[in-house]
Point group: C2
Chain length 371, copies 2
């Protein structure tokens, strides 16, 4: 089934472009829809905050019923914790040495915080244990297993042995996690990737039990696989992009077309070349993220035939096929991004809207906190 | 001639990764080399600050002999002006309305500032004139002409007519500029692109003179074409990337291999998959900028066979071909970026080094100022 077109996001008048615009009504609907699906499945939702990097949007997810949040970096954990969020999972195989370990330790020291940290090697676990050496607390860790994404994570059948090794070091292994990132290969891959995650976590759980370790948490996740993996033995799911949506998610079925809550507002600054217009959103606003199943570096939902064909830092060259409508010089257009996560990371603030009117300009609190 | 390998940047010990590292000794050598070439050619150097976005590095260029600086956005102009730099050219067809016009006006109001602004349409010129309507000052503008890059700019033969139109509105047309961005198509395209820029500016100057407008400034530029265009009738050249260097410039001959002054320092966080290692620099640190003539999303100069094959937000998957050396788990490696400009824009600060030792951590002052 080919998804329908993404509706153009309604933009407030008078924007200083390029601007990141997020429609909070759509965001709330996305949050409620995913939460309802997880509640029905009886699985905890722990959304990935790397998509929005916003304390306000993380709180919105928690208020909608999320169990806690997921982050990818120590910097995101620091920002979210200081923003008052106290149940955080760093779903990343951290190498905790030097100032990175000091920073992690600084927030771990707070008794209010439940922080879980990922690992995928005994060597990594040893660094985490050394970081905790002066503490009476134990650190809750989650072992990453590879469901076929072939990025990070141990083979599921080795999960027992490695979890036992970490336990022996003095860490508390609370469970295992996976990321079915191979779902991004195309719309025909998402169902298989979800099945792979279920299989990997089932195998990992059995291997851990064989070593006498009961996995309390089996955490899976990516937005395209979120619905497919929300079943036993999985206990928690970690989608991120579902909250804002983007062209990739729509193509993969991870977001309905009307679930795209975000746009980069851009002004047409040049129409000097025939057959094209140039907007003031380039690679530093849209990123060069592409997918084989998407055309161009973003789309203009109000001009469905237009193709964003080339990006330089501050220019987006938009081809206007002959006989199709083009935006005018000076017109402000909404661009639907290919992949929202790195786009949000380029902006210090976003324009929050409801029904096309500005209601605030909250900070992208964890912008640039990539380590 | 295939350029030699990029030497690995010397990294200080104890970096918290990912980190942007810039070797100031190499930067100074790059600044001096380009300045000497322009001095010999008798052409003014006006470096593009969008590459580094740093007031400190812009001052370094001015101290080395640059005439002024170039920027791409109003935000960069604001930051550089407030940093004490008072000769700035916004080489962009600004659409000066609303708060963008207000912001530009705020800095234009300063008598110490020489600000020039680009335009490529009478409509754009009209907005600039309206912005100036309450001022006794005239605004110096530069007409963009297209040298075959087919992005922005008017056809050179129309430069006279459009310059005369802007002059009639009450703007002061001081000259014309071009950007030979088609030089980036490959190493065999740079000489042709430089010739195109010279031809376009020669034609534009003749067309302007035919309308009674003497172009005082003919400004050309891109790093790959910089040396080729430094001759009459061109009066100023605007390269940016030469200061920091990157893989693209080395491939195009715009930077010698030892001129790459920048690296993203990254830690190997996972070695769980055979044949690869994973570093903590992903798309939010390296960008997905690629070129057909480059392999991977950056390179590891200390491990020349390694290929950065896949990026997710915080993971870089590095393939290690069989029989070649691999960095160890926990090792910190220097990554040479494909395209330095959007990479610098991801970091709030950089680690400044000399001879492999940290000498400071200056801000990337204009980071995120993309409009």
């Amino acid at each position: 089934v080919t998804p329908g077109p993404i509706p153009p996001l309604r933009l407030p008048a008078g924007l200083d472009t390029p601007a990141l615009v997020i429609d909070l009504d759509v965001v709330e609907a996305n949050a409620a829809r995913m939460q309802a699906a997880m509640d029905t499945a009886g699985v905890a939702l722990r959304p990935h905050a790397k998509t929005h990097k916003s304390v306000m949007l993380a709180r919105l997810q928690l208020n909608a019923g999320a169990r806690g949040i997921t982050v990818g970096t120590t910097g995101e954990a620091e920002v979210m914790f200081r923003g008052g969020i106290n149940d955080i999972f760093i779903a990343y195989p951290l190498w905790a040495v030097g100032s990175k370990a000091d920073r992690l330790w600084d927030i771990l020291d707070d008794v209010e915080l439940r922080l879980r940290v990922g690992f995928d090697s005994i060597e990594g676990a040893r660094r985490l244990r050394e970081m905790m050496s002066s503490s009476a607390r134990t650190l809750e860790v989650m072992l990453e297993v590879d469901p076929g994404n072939h990025r990070t994570g141990v083979p599921p059948e080795r999960a027992g042995e490695i979890a036992a090794g970490a336990q022996a070091l003095g860490l508390e292994v609370v469970g295992a996690f996976s990321h079915g990132g191979h779902s991004y290969a195309g719309p025909d891959k998402t169902a298989g990737a979800a099945a792979d995650e279920l299989g990997a976590l089932t195998t990992a759980a059995a291997a851990m039990r064989a070593e006498g370790i009961e996995p309390r948490v089996l955490s899976a996740g990516s937005t395209p696989t979120a619905l497919g993996i929300a079943r036993a033995p999985v206990t928690e799911v970690r989608p991120g992009t579902y909250l804002l949506g983007d062209r990739t998610q729509v193509a993969l079925g991870g977001s309905p077309p009307h679930g795209v809550a975000v746009a980069v507002a851009a002004t047409v600054v040049s129409t000097s070349m025939p057959g094209q217009v140039v907007i003031d959103a380039g690679a530093k606003s849209l990123t060069k993220d592409i997918q084989p199943y998407l055309r161009g570096f973003g789309s203009l939902p109000a001009y469905p035939a237009a193709v964003i064909e080339r990006l330089s830092d501050y220019h987006g060259v938009v081809r206007i096929p002959e006989g199709t409508r083009a935006p005018e010089l000076g017109e402000v257009v909404a661009v639907a991004p290919n992949h929202v996560c790195p786009v949000v990371d380029l902006f210090d603030r976003f324009v929050a809207t409801r029904a096309g009117e500005t209601v605030g300009d909250p900070p992208v609190d964890a912008r640039g906190r990539s380590g």
